[in-house]
């Protein structure tokens, strides 16, 4: 039975590794300028994790096979080097490995979070509320009008709580249910939550940020491929959480201008 367990462990370990090696279920293709840093880090980590996983499972299996009863003769033997060798190996090898992962991985994180958006980045405001994302563009004046939460009225389609009657800057703001952006243009996303916590997750763009009620947060990114992608909510926000999604359309600059004009006319 010990030998069967050993074989089972090895089979399970190999079968588990196959879909990873074959990339059977993988993230959507990366369409961002920073995503390759994350993807490379993911691959590096996968190699280290994979090797550790397979080595540990195989070693466990080999020792189960070799050292199970019945063996009434012979003495108990000690692993060469004893505990000292293993502890030192753990501290040195694993210590170096995880420090390296941490050091290299922080570069991708810094790219997303520590670098400010460029001065030419296009600002888009996004509001998350049960159970939809809404987007606001500043319009030709380039300014967002102030928000008045007490004026939010979904029945009247005043989704952001704007007061164009009194706030000049709000008059040309464009509010949409889907997000369109020009390709290869840096976007500065300004995020706030209307009611409870939500999250902005765009797997294709390699970005992920919670919306925190009470906090104004921001992200910046650049999309490099034209197409239609999904923005999904990943922070449990209530019964409609599974369905809370918006589409992100990455367009050519010309198409984006046309889209924006059309949206402005429809306000």
């Amino acid at each position: 039975m010990a030998k069967l367990l050993a074989v089972t462990i090895i089979v399970i370990a190999i079968l588990s590794a196959i879909p990873v090696v074959m990339n059977t279920w993988k993230a959507p293709a990366d369409i961002s300028t920073h995503g390759h840093l994350i993807d490379n880090q993911m691959s590096d980590t996968m190699v280290e994790a994979g090797v550790s996983f397979l080595a540990a499972q195989i070693l466990l299996a080999i020792f189960i096979w070799q050292f199970s009863s019945p063996r009434t003769d012979g003495k108990v033997k000690t692993f060469p080097g004893g505990a000292k060798g293993l502890v030192i190996a753990a501290i040195v090898l694993v210590g170096v490995e995880v420090l390296a992962l941490g050091a290299f991985g922080s570069k991708a994180w810094a790219q997303v979070y520590f670098t400010p958006p460029g001065v030419d980045a296009m600002p888009i405001q996004v509001q998350a509320g049960q159970f939809a994302f809404y987007f606001r563009y500043p319009g030709p004046d380039g300014k967002f009008g102030p928000l008045h939460p007490e004026m939010i009225n979904e029945g009247n389609q005043n989704l952001f709580g704007l007061d164009p009657e009194h706030d000049v800057d709000s008059r040309d703001d464009i509010v949409t249910a889907e997000m369109a952006i020009p390709v290869n243009k840096e976007i500065h996303l300004l995020m706030h939550a209307k009611d409870v916590s939500h999250s902005f997750y765009v797997p294709a763009l390699r970005i992920h940020q919670d919306f925190v009620p009470g906090l104004d947060l921001s992200l910046h990114f650049t999309a490099t491929q034209i197409g239609k992608y999904e923005i999904v909510c990943s922070q449990l926000c209530g019964l409609g959480h599974y369905n809370m999604r918006a589409y992100l359309e990455v367009m050519s600059p010309q198409d984006f201008d046309d889209w924006q004009k059309k949206q402005a006319a429809a306000q």
Binding site: M46, A56, K75, V76, W109, I152, V232
Partner: protein, 598 residues
């Protein structure tokens, strides 16, 4: 090797033998009965939690499936037997709450710890038997309060076991179950915290004050240490969760705004709250929540080590290194909690700061795994149900732990946060591994607790089907996560998730199968309790003090005569005058260690 005792004389702690049915089996002061009561509670909780997971998995694989009988149980939650999105989240919240608190914290720690800690230190009972009895009944009360959430009009909360504010704080405007259900949940957890604090008090003082003559700290069995370390964590962690729950309840019933900022609008109504912090809940919860997952696993590590050492017929390569690693895990567990909050909106620099100890915690985790594996080398491993589950624990802990390499890095968390990758990680490293620890402890200690042996054929069958089955369920979770499958979704409507539904269906079938297999274990428990073959005092040839007493033990453990201890619990692989390869802790015989080349 003789050592004179440096331990203090045990505090006088005598309660007379129980005489009535009530004092023997219901309101018992006996730590052994209390331990069994906790075990029974955990059994009920795991059954309910498992059924909830079946309902969740059926719905995820086949969203429009009408489940027979469900409409009768919950006409609002499952009209026509089809689970609504809110009911899915409510089932999920209760599944997780039951499993984390009433199974994983209760069985390895409160159940086995209560039963065996006093015995293993050589005491007649814990120093505060009345507190101990209260801790069980408090925990049972918490369980009943929690279950009552199913029966209020709107049902249980849907905010997950993590209950993030403001969803969990603003009341029923947030969704079904968020009114009364959430208050009931927070009350139940608050009561649970009290039970845990009382229990931790007893465990800590048992180890410090109740050790018999000769039982120095260095001679404590590893399980006793594991329970002691866990209690220290419990005291500090639950002491933070309890006030957090109180503040949450106040936000619901007293109009406070601890977790609710101003300017929130829901259903077109501006909420009247202001001044609170959304992230405050997360900090409080995870300061508890991360140590909690180590509270769930450290007793299992102790149990598995204890079982493996007995069945390998040799001590660990270094019990000291294992012990220091467990302390390191406990200590570091308080430093890493922010890794649950990498993209939460806290300062992104904090994320890097929390990432560092999270990566470092890999080191003690690796040490314990290498010690288990390295100790197998050259051993005389005996295969039985208990040792199979112990070995399975090691495999599971490796599998579940390795995904931690990814989640510890904020840059990768960008892709993996709140996906099934996280769900796979914690189910394997905490859920399944701890369950294997519980199974291993059960098969190992059942003979002592009941005086009868469990059926080995059924036990081995239970192991094989569960081992393969749990891998079939939880390994694919990682693939789903890598593909970006967000968690806590009642169904998968997004375009990019459609191709993953067949994998979900495979997981559901594996889950239903593996869940059913647990009936074998349950049957074995009941059948063996009444019809199992008689067990001797020491069927596994163990060294620690539980094996010196009859099976089952008398009410006062050592018959009124405290044992005297001469050795640690690691005297295996030794030469003795009787030809046995082990020396029990209370034997005055000197140990002659027999190793390579002797």
């Amino acid at each position: 090797m003789h050592e004179t005792s440096a331990a203090p004389a045990p505090a006088a702690q005598h309660h007379g033998p129980p005489t009535t049915f009530i004092s023997k089996h219901v309101f018992s002061l006996d730590h052994k009965v209390i331990g069994l009561q906790y075990y029974g509670l955990a059994l009920v909780a795991v059954f309910v939690g498992m059924v909830l997971s079946w309902l969740m998995r059926i719905h995820l694989g086949w969203t429009n499936a009408a489940i027979p009988g469900l409409q009768a149980i919950s006409p609002n939650g499952a009209p026509g037997g089809v689970i609504t999105p809110e009911y899915y989240l409510q089932l999920m919240t209760m599944h997780a709450t039951l499993m984390v608190f009433f199974v994983l914290t209760t069985a390895p720690f409160a159940a086995f710890g209560n039963y065996f800690l006093p015995i293993q230190v050589g005491a007649e009972d814990m120093p505060f038997p009345h507190f101990n009895m209260m801790s069980f009944w408090t925990t049972l009360t918490a369980f009943c309060v929690l279950i009552s959430a199913f029966f209020v009009s709107d049902g249980p909360p849907l905010s997950g076991w993590t209950a993030y504010a403001p969803l969990s704080a603003i009341g029923k405007v947030a969704g079904p179950g968020e009114g009364m259900g959430q208050v009931i949940w927070a009350t139940a957890i608050g009561i649970f915290c009290i039970g845990q604090l009382l229990g931790a008090l007893n465990f800590i003082s048992t180890v410090l004050d109740m050790r018999c003559k000769g039982m120095t700290l260095s001679r404590l069995p590893i399980t006793a240490w594991a329970w002691f370390i866990t209690s220290c964590m419990g005291l500090t962690a639950f002491a933070v969760l309890m006030p957090a729950c109180i503040l949450l309840i106040l936000d619901h019933v007293a109009g406070t705004s601890f977790f609710i900022p101003s300017g929130l609008v829901i259903n077109d109504q501006l909420l009247p709250h202001s001044g609170g912090s959304t992230l405050l809940w997360q900090h409080l919860f995870w300061f508890f929540g991360h140590p909690e997952v180590y509270i769930a696993i450290v007793p299992g590590m102790g149990i598995v080590t204890h079982v493996l050492v007995t069945n390998m017929r040799r001590p660990m390569l270094s019990t000291k290194a294992l012990l220091y690693s467990m302390w390191a895990l406990a200590f570091l567990s308080y430093m890493v909690y922010g890794h649950h909050m990498f993209v939460s909106g806290m300062n992104p620099f904090s994320s890097l700061v929390f990432s560092f100890p999270t990566l470092m915690i890999t080191i003690p985790s690796t040490i314990v795994v290498l010690l288990w594996i390295g100790s197998l080398y050259g051993s005389k491993l005996r295969i039985n149900s208990a040792s199979l589950f112990a070995l399975g624990f090691v495999s599971m802990f490796v599998s579940g732990g390795v995904s931690g390499f990814f989640l510890a890095q904020p840059s990768l968390d960008i892709m993996l946060h709140a996906t099934y990758f996280v769900v796979g990680h914690f189910h394997m490293v905490m859920g399944v591994a701890a369950m294997f620890g519980i199974f291993s402890g059960t098969y190992f200690w059942f003979p002592k607790m009941t005086g009868r042996m469990m059926n080995e054929t059924l036990g081995k069958t239970h192991f094989w089907l569960t081992f393969v089955g749990t891998y079939c369920i939880f390994m694919p979770f990682h693939y789903l996560g890598m593909a970006g499958n967000v968690r806590r979704y009642a169904s998968f409507t997004d375009d990019y998730l459609q191709r993953l539904i067949p994998l979900h269906q495979f997981i559901t079938i594996a889950a239903l199968f593996t869940g059913s297999v647990q009936l074998i274990f349950f049957y074995n428990l009941i059948y063996s309790r009444f019809r199992g073959p008689q067990a001797s005092a020491n069927p596994w040839e163990g060294t620690s003090l539980e094996w010196i007493m009859p099976s089952p033990p008398p009410w006062n453990n050592f018959g009124g005569k405290d044992p005297i201890v001469y050795h640690d619990a690691d005297q295996y692989g030794v030469r003795t005058s009787t030809g046995a390869d082990y020396i029990m802790q209370n034997s005055p015989e000197s140990a002659v260690v027999v190793r390579d080349g002797d």
